[in-house]
Assembly symmetry: C2
Homo-oligomer: 347 residues x 2
């Protein structure tokens, strides 16, 4: 994976996180992810008028960020479709003029924006498009691989799949278990320095890219694969299924956000029942790995009080007969226990 | 769809079909499709040593094909991964020198082969890569569209999904019903002159591309959408699910090839039960269209005797309680009847 680690070397830290005119906190989840999982690399935030996201970092101008030692402005906000907004342009040019590089995971590329290309050239700065797949990927061959794999599957997009897998990795490393978070999205790639930007991969090679990301490993090593989308999110479900069939998981964690009123970006679509998420994902996973089990439920309770959250987790746990936790709020311990049980049953 | 029709204008007919060193007849399904559905445009075939496919057309050299009036050599064979084989190269260069254009639907592009580019330039010929998406596609928004849609879903790749939909279109037009075949693969695009090469679309835009391919239409108009892959084929299942969620079908036809020993290209994977294909596809389709129904089973019985075929169709029809036919062998009449019943129940 030499190519991917290059990102970690190429993109200079520390970062200043650009939140732009984020319409809501969720649209700044890239910034939030970097701040939560790589806090030492995040020294400030840049916000425009009408920004509805806040990382709790010092607000800065591009110039002030450069003066404070920032090396790279990371675009930490995504609007629908992944476009680089025209309203951001003056600030991005300012950043280049102040001596910052820019890194972006958006669909539309920095390198295709003429003003940015010219300003970068004039100021000797770099434009990093981490969204672009940098390698070539094979067609998936479905051959069994050694080692164990756990995949996060969601009731919707942006319900905490990446956080769940990062929290699992943190807890497993604390216990000195063998585990590797496998990033499949831009935030994960910026956090860990490697991975596959799966939603930018050509359709035929999606599952093959996931196989390549999760190769043969020690028999007791767990790949913790970041999920994408949901089998029930009609815009991205194909990506979710490619993750299941390319990842060939031994274990699934169902991820959910209980305050969601409808599927993200699709006001007409209600969320699926957790039982349907469990059953659909499991039956699809068993096509490629008959041993696959659902080992727990991970709930993002950020939108609930302590009391609501506790009651909800107990209710779901009893209903589903599976460990049900918020790993970010209360730690991932019980999910790691469940993974180890799953592993013990396999031996 | 102006861009897509350009292919029909750009690629000059008649064709000579290049079968190369096809390892088996199935790998030449592109050639077979053009020959079956556009016979007037296919004047001959070019075969190399060790070719195990035969369209029953006159064997020609490139020069003889040009002399007989052929305008374009169509690469009608695909090896796994869609590579342009080195063993084809001399013949392809000969074709350009003889005055033929070349059209290809392979993943690897004619325009990236230096010898072909030079020979095309030297001889004033065109290289057509129909695999490349030519438009830009939106993220799917899941909004209901007017008109009706039927999608072919398969137990495996290459089981007759395109043929089934082309046969439905032919029969519906004969009955003066409103119907449009919607191509989602290279063969379909070469046959009809338009469509979306779905397996070459970037992951995030797959479902949106299918929505764009099947826009609002008359309330009694049927889009007949060519399927791709199978929910149970782990290499391509993501594409199949994007077709279900982007196509938002009112009707599904389950397609099957009963002599298949294992999933295509995956010797370790057995074929799914037809009941599982039906149930998985239907439950996924109802996420986006609650009215969706499975209206029939289409079986490719090419590998069976008349007697075997008849017995098999009766057995499946009784077991599944659905019309079960081979539309290519016996006509698509009963599936069109079933579509009309489905439409009547909706009104």
């Amino acid at each position: 994976m030499a190519w991917a680690w290059q990102y970690a070397r190429m993109i200079n830290t520390p970062y200043v996180l650009f939140l732009g005119d984020a319409p809501d906190p969720l649209s700044a989840k890239l910034a939030q992810g970097i701040k939560d999982w790589r806090p030492e690399a995040s020294i400030g935030q840049i916000r425009l008028k009408d920004c509805h996201a806040d990382m709790g970092l010092p607000d800065m101008t591009p110039r002030a960020a450069a003066d404070a030692g920032a090396q790279t402005l990371v675009i930490g906000v995504a609007n629908r479709g992944g476009v680089i907004s025209k309203t951001w342009m003056d600030t991005l040019v300012e950043a280049l003029e102040a001596g910052l590089d820019i890194a972006s995971g958006l669909h539309n590329l920095l390198r295709n924006e003429e003003r940015l290309v010219q300003a970068a050239r004039a100021n000797g700065r770099e434009l990093h498009d981490v969204r672009l797949p940098t390698g070539t990927y094979p067609i998936a061959d479905g051959k069994p691989r050694s080692g164990l794999r756990c995949l996060a599957v969601g009731s919707d997009c942006s319900v905490g799949k990446m956080y769940t897998m990062l929290a699992l990795e943190k807890e497993m490393r604390k216990r000195q278990l063998k585990a590797s978070f496998r990033a499949t999205g831009q935030t994960g790639i910026l956090i860990t320095g490697k991975g596959v930007p799966l939603d930018a991969v050509v359709a035929d090679f999606m599952a093959g890219a996931v196989e390549q990301l999760t190769p043969n490993n020690d028999p007791d090593h767990w790949d913790l694969i970041e999920g994408q989308g949901s089998l029930f999110h009609i815009s991205y479900s194909g990506v979710s299924l490619a993750l299941i069939h390319g990842g060939a998981p031994d274990a699934l964690v169902v991820c959910h956000e209980p305050t969601r009123k409808h599927m993200r970006g699709l006001p007409e679509y209600p969320l699926p029942q957790l039982e349907d998420v469990r059953d659909s994902a499991l039956s699809m996973a068993r096509v490629v790995n008959p041993h696959c089990q659902v080992i727990g439920i991970s709930v993002n309770t950020a939108g609930m009080s302590e009391e609501e959250s506790g009651a909800y987790l107990v209710e779901v746990e009893q209903r589903m007969q599976l460990p049900c936790i918020d790993p970010f709020r209360y730690g991932a311990g019980r999910l790691v226990d469940a993974l180890q049980d799953c592993q013990a049953r396999r031996v």
